[in-house]
């Protein structure tokens, strides 16, 4: 259990700037999700906190003490890698026990046995304990590598897209499981994902990174409802926010260059005429792809809608998000 303070964190790899002046305070017990496309600096942030890479500038403090001089082992963090993190020459049991046998912890064997069994139960891999790590499916491997983080009781859990290689059902189960573990342990989590549902359901805080810069940090709701820029707005929301020229629906506020429409900002049945191009029934939601003049808009309709391609309907925006020429929120 610990709080983390990143101040002015900068890291470059050759000519590429991975992180630029990132400052961030993660309160004790928070579940922070980092969002951003590939190359935004999410993984770099985790690696710097873990101590696998050294920052070019800036400081990392855990529990108020700078850890820059500490080795990864001394920092007492656990990390789940996106891939390749199981030791292929060991069995599942030995993999799970590996951190507990380290010189730092060095638990007695009977305690290790109990802990490993307990974690294996939670992750539904108890029946595979004596398999070699290489004999597992992708999903099982990933569960073991999550398990290797969970057997310990580190100050911070770092997770780099831990659920990305799992199938939908398992992902949903583990999402709940991780959330439960977080609530139970009260530990601090730093979690990288592309998945919006993971971000919205698990996070207490969301940080959005863009080309190595932290552009917004707040609760998932703040990030969704009150994004600082068009970039942040397009990180969250299914279907994605529709960005159109500001004057698409008539007069716009001064300085606005773009209008951003989430499904809840589009009122169907009044306003300007539009044509239905495609209807996607996803079960719990129905997506409408509309054309309005030269513009395309994606929004949601009632799940039981009878609308069909080619039909006409009217739409109007309500409380949309406005962005200026450089994408910043007005």
């Amino acid at each position: 259990m610990a709080d983390i303070r990143l101040s002015g964190l900068t890291k470059t790899f050759g000519a590429t700037r991975a992180l630029a002046d990132v400052s961030l305070t993660i309160p004790d017990g928070a579940f922070v999700v980092l969002l951003g496309p590939t190359g935004a600096g999410k993984t770099t942030t985790l690696r710097l906190i873990a101590g696998l890479d050294r920052p070019d500038a800036g400081d990392i403090a855990i529990d108020g003490r700078s850890v820059l001089a500490d080795t990864p082992a001394q920092r007492d963090v656990a990390m789940v890698f996106q891939q390749y993190s199981l030791y292929p020459h060991l069995t599942v049991r030995e993999n799970l026990a590996f951190p507990l046998r380290s010189p730092v912890l060095n638990w007695p064997e009977d305690r290790i046995t109990r802990k490993v069994a307990e974690v294996a139960e939670v992750l539904h891999i108890a029946h595979k304990l004596d398999n070699k790590a290489t004999q597992l499916s992708g999903g099982e491997m990933q569960r073991v590598s999550i398990g290797r983080a969970l057997v310990r009781n580190p100050r911070i859990y770092l997770m780099d897209e831990p659920l990305s290689s799992l199938d939908a059902k398992l992902r949903a189960d583990l999402r709940v499981e991780l959330k439960r573990i977080h609530a139970e342990l009260g530990a601090t989590f730093l979690y990288v994902t592309h998945d919006q549902i993971e971000a919205m359901t698990m996070a207490t805080h969301v940080g959005v990174l863009d080309q190595g810069k932290l552009v917004q940090f707040g609760t998932p709701r703040e990030i969704y409802e009150n994004p600082v820029s068009a970039y942040v707005a397009s990180r969250l929301g299914q279907p994605r926010i529709t960005l159109l020229p500001a004057d698409a629906f008539g007069p716009a506020p001064a300085g606005a260059a773009q209008i951003g429409l989430r499904p809840e900002h589009v009122i169907l049945g009044e306003g300007q005429p539009a044509t239905v191009r495609r209807v996607e029934h996803l079960g719990d939601q129905t997506r409408l792809h509309l054309t309005m003049g030269a513009h395309e808009i994606v929004t949601l309709a009632d799940p039981h809608t009878t609308l069909a391609p080619g039909e006409q309907l009217s739409i109007r925006p309500e409380n949309p998000l406005w962005f200026d020429a450089s994408g910043n929120r007005i």
């Binding site: 696998l52 080795t71 990864p72 082992a73 990390m79 891939q83 390749y84 030791y87 290797r148």
Partner: protein
């Protein structure tokens, strides 16, 4: 309709491949069979023409290999007590008596010490160097690697004279240490390059995971990298051992007594009691055994090692 598989070979192509492999095996194994069978022939059988394929096996060659013998005067020979051992008896048949053990045992032991010693040292140093080159930022890394490789760009014997003079100066001539160092120096470039390739194939994430799991870098190296590099280490060790074991030129030049290895010793058998081909063949056969056993023990690794880079990704 028959379903044809693209990947599964047909019966006929399997047969052709089998025949070719067998033919190749026969051609390469024939000299070996010749040596092994000659070792069990009697002196006259070994030089008879046409060569005898079926012969009465004899251990004379092996006895002669391990002993020195003298001829004694006829009357003295008559008065000798009956032979005490089976090898005594074999020597008596040719009208001689055993004078003492030959030096083959010592030379063979020298080969074992020097061959395995230099292999161990090459692998030990090579693994550490390869790991460093693979994982750390070493200044002038590419130049250093090229320099290491360049030591193999000419035949080692080309520098025989400087090494001979240097060894005489340093007192390393005809010592075990000297030969171990020499073979290690020749093998280390091969070891570094081969092992670097193997270690490069091991993703860094494993070590990073171990570092976070509470291990130091050296412990991560020992517990995570070494077991996964075992295949590469085994195949590299075989290559190093085969070179050190078979090396002849330097052994002739630099050793004569205490540290002489088996390769320069075996030919000297010819001069001692006439052209004793069975003894030479027996020496060659015994000489083959350690490398054969070592290779068979590590065979599984060797096969995997050769295909390692190809099947990994």
């Amino acid at each position: 309709m028959t379903a044809y598989s693209v990947t599964e070979p047909t019966g006929r192509s399997k047969l052709v491949a089998g025949l070719l492999v067998t033919l190749y095996a026969v051609i390469t194994l024939l000299p070996l069979l010749w040596i092994i069978s000659t070792g069990f022939k009697s002196g006259p059988d070994s030089i008879s023409y046409p060569p005898k394929v079926v012969f009465e096996p004899s251990l004379e060659g092996y006895v002669n290999l391990f002993t020195t013998r003298t001829r004694v005067a006829a009357e003295e020979f008559q008065n000798l007590p009956p032979p005490e051992t089976w090898y005594d008896a074999i020597v008596r048949e040719s009208g001689m008596v055993i004078a003492g053990p030959s030096r083959f045992g010592e030379r063979f032991l020298n080969s074992v010490i020097i061959g395995f010693g230099s292999t161990f040292l090459s692998i030990f140093l090579g693994t550490l160097a390869a790991y460093a080159f693979s994982r750390f930022k070493v200044p002038l890394k590419d130049d250093l690697l090229f320099f290491i490789l360049s030591t193999r760009m000419m035949p080692p014997i080309a520098v025989a004279i400087p090494i001979y003079l240097m060894y005489r100066e340093l007192g390393l001539s005809d010592t075990h240490l000297g030969m171990i160092l020499l073979y290690t120096a020749v093998n280390i470039s091969l070891a570094v390059w081969l092992l670097k390739g193997f270690i490069d194939e091991i993703p860094r994430e494993y070590e990073e995971a171990a570092l976070i799991d509470g291990y130091t870098r050296f412990q991560a190296f020992r517990k995570v990298v070494l077991p996964q590099a075992a295949t590469g280490i085994a195949s590299t060790a075989i290559f190093c051992l085969i070179f050190a074991w078979n090396e002849y030129a330097f052994a002739v030049l630099l050793t004569s007594g205490t540290a002489q290895t088996a390769p320069p010793f075996i030919p000297t058998i010819i001069g001692v009691g006439g052209q004793d081909w069975p003894a030479v063949a027996a020496g060659a056969t015994i000489f083959l055994l350690p490398v054969m056993i070592f290779t068979i023990l590590l065979r599984k690794h060797l096969l995997r090692g050769i295909t390692f880079g190809a099947v990994r990704k």
